[in-house]
């Protein structure tokens, strides 16, 4: 190499510059004061194209009856993207949101973001691996939320509970507690969603927009992998069944509507 010193200095400069940039980004992510606007991301559970009714009996793709009692999941690492300009707004990755569609106050995410035009949203479904190994947490990650395995440390990233007559379990319960963050057991899934044709989040300073997202429970049983309730009524630990179900439910989201107010 002819100019090793020069190259090294260059690298150091670039590294510092990146550091500087990342600091600035963090700061702006925390306080988007200049031209901030409100964005609400609403998540609605649906089955067979209709809003989920808890306790109602549905059929999965294999004709197995089931009803739903609990449906919750964590997400974090939300990004709003303008795919034309590549302008991206990243919500602080350590912010975790626990979505519980049974509770109207816990079925949407309220964000304050820089006013701009966005046409895509991405997020990570689940709890980041660091939070799974960092000891006692509070807020949405409080183990008292019931989304935590106490005997083999880790968060339940998504939970679907209910009943099915074909489940050979006490009281025919079905319990899918999906978690795992290590290696092949990792159920964290990046979700990347486009908006309906011609619709965009168009935020002006002080204005508000809504992204309405459907979460289709049918996918849990049949998308990439067929999961028959009769064979697998329960998933209670990390492993192959959990990752297959995660593969399936990573396809459950669809943006159905953007509302700019």
């Amino acid at each position: 190499m002819r100019y090793p010193l020069h190259n090294n200095s260059c690298m150091v400069f670039i590294a510092w510059y990146c550091l500087l940039l990342s600091c600035q980004k963090d700061a702006s992510a925390d306080k988007p004061e200049q031209g901030a606007a409100n964005l609400q991301v609403h998540l609605k559970a649906i089955v067979d194209g209709q809003p989920l009714i808890f306790g109602k009996i549905y059929k999965n793709a294999f004709g197995e009856d089931f009803s739903v009692k609990t449906f919750k999941f964590y997400l974090h690492g939300i990004e709003l993207i303008n795919s034309q300009t590549n302008n991206t707004y990243r919500v602080d990755k350590s912010n975790h949101f626990l979505i519980n569609t049974a509770d109207s106050s816990a079925s949407y995410i309220q964000l304050s973001i820089p006013s701009s035009v966005y046409d895509r949203i991405t997020f990570i479904l689940g709890v980041d691996s660091i939070s799974n190994v960092s000891g006692a947490q509070t807020g949405t990650l409080d183990p008292a939320k019931g989304m935590f395995w106490t005997w083999s440390t880790g968060y339940i990233m998504a939970k679907l509970e209910g009943n099915s007559p074909v489940a050979a379990t006490p009281d025919h319960v079905i319990e899918y507690h999906i978690g795992g963050f290590k290696g092949t057991e990792n159920v964290l899934r990046k979700i990347s969603l486009t908006f309906p044709s011609l619709q965009k989040v168009d935020l002006k300073p002080g204005s508000q927009s809504m992204i309405n997202i459907n979460a289709n429970i049918n996918t849990w049983f049949n998308h990439t992998h067929p999961i028959r309730i009769s064979q697998n009524p329960v998933s209670m630990n990390p492993g192959n069944l959990a990752t297959r179900i995660a593969d399936n439910y990573s396809n459950m989201f669809t943006v159905v509507e953007i509302v700019n107010e």
């Binding site: 190994v133 000891g135 006692a136 947490q137 183990p143 008292a144 106490t150 083999s152 440390t153 990390p238």
Partner: protein, 351 residues
């Protein structure tokens, strides 16, 4: 205090102080509160490595420690009030259960394992016989919520604590306001348990040149170093690994150990190597308490080991020991009793 211990204490104090400063910077109120509390130091016994748990986000204070102690001895952490942490972790037994093979829990149930002694926990990277708990702060949630142990719900514990004015006062003293949540509860229990350091046995005194072994103890120590120390590594007397030491699986308990956590066949029947410190207090022995005496354990290693695919390679040929060698080993193991720790009033229930 000797030089190394002083230096280690300083390092921990420094780390704690730095953490406090960071917390001060980020969370003004918590920082102000910390200044009003009484800091505690964590002393690393001479010759010990630095602990794995560094109290980075959990600055040690007397108030948080005292709260942790009250919680540790409080039956209200269990469903029927009868099973505080201390029901299975008794100080006279080095915080194991005295003379019980399997622990007892809610509604006359047995657990599937023998309660291990609690000491030098800050050096453990993972907790439990199977290593299922990856962080000391969340360990208490396992016994609290297990149906055959304390059988309680986290929210229900928090509600019971919130209803008690004494707890509200203690949480305020420790954390600056009366908020009672699982995180504060867990951080306090962690402080109490992590400060249980055992490093003042005759063995430690011998190492420090303050005591001498008699000829039996000395012979036992040499045997120990030759035949046992690769797994029961000094000075903590465990290397914190998981191994299958050739115990035949109890057909009723069907406990596969570490495999339950990793789902890996090669982890079948592996359990964490237990520390041998305070071994005279922690009988019965093994993950299911099947051995009533140290002699039975030594008999197992010399003649009882069962072969299986995951048997530890170091035990393929067993550990041949004659009667005299066993006698010497027992004499040495007796030097690992730490009476200072077992009688330390800091860890005793407040009367």
């Amino acid at each position: 205090m000797n030089k190394i211990a002083t230096r280690s204490t300083l390092i921990i104090l420094f780390v704690t102080a730095t953490a406090s400063m960071i917390m001060n910077a980020c969370k003004k109120t918590d920082g102000d509160q910390l200044q009003r509390t009484s800091p505690l130091s964590f002393t690393i016994p001479k010759g010990f490595p630095p602990p794995f748990y560094q109290f980075t986000n959990n600055p040690l204070t007397q108030e948080r420690f005292d709260l942790g102690k009250k919680l540790f001895y409080d039956g209200r952490l269990s469903k029927d009030g009868n099973f505080p942490c201390a029901s299975c972790h008794q100080q006279s037994a080095a915080f194991a259960t005295f003379d019980h093979d399997l622990s007892h829990g809610f509604n006359n149930q047995f657990t599937t394992r023998n309660a291990p002694g609690l000491f030098n926990m800050a050096w453990h990277k993972e907790l439990h016989w199977d290593g299922g708990i990856n962080h000391i702060e969340v360990q208490p949630l396992a016994p609290i919520t297990a149906a055959n142990e304390m059988a309680e719900d986290i929210n229900s514990v928090i509600s019971k604590l919130q209803a008690d004015p004494k707890y509200r006062r203690m949480f305020k003293l420790a954390y600056g306001d009366e908020t009672i949540n699982s995180q504060r509860m867990l951080l306090s229990i962690t402080q109490f348990v992590s400060l249980m350091v055992s490093g003042d046995s005759k063995y430690d005194k011998m190492k420090a040149g303050k005591a001498t072994f008699n000829v039996y103890e000395e012979s036992g120590y040499k045997l120990f170093q030759a035949k046992c120390a690769s797994c029961h590594q000094e000075p903590l007397f465990t290397d914190f690994t998981y191994r299958n030491n050739g115990l035949k699986m109890n057909a009723f308990l069907k406990d596969f150990g570490r495999m339950r956590i990793t789902n890996q066949k090669e982890d079948s029947l592996k359990f964490k190597v237990p520390s041998l410190r305070n071994i005279f207090q922690t009988f019965p022995y093994a993950h299911d308490g099947r051995f009533n005496s140290i002699n039975q354990v030594l008999d197992h290693y010399s003649t009882g080991i069962q072969d299986s695919p995951s048997l530890d390679p170091l035990l393929k040929n067993k550990i041949p020991l004659n009667a005299t060698e066993k006698f010497y080993l027992v004499q040495f193991l007796a030097t690992l009793t730490d009476s200072t720790f077992i009688n330390d009033k800091r860890f005793a229930e407040q009367q």
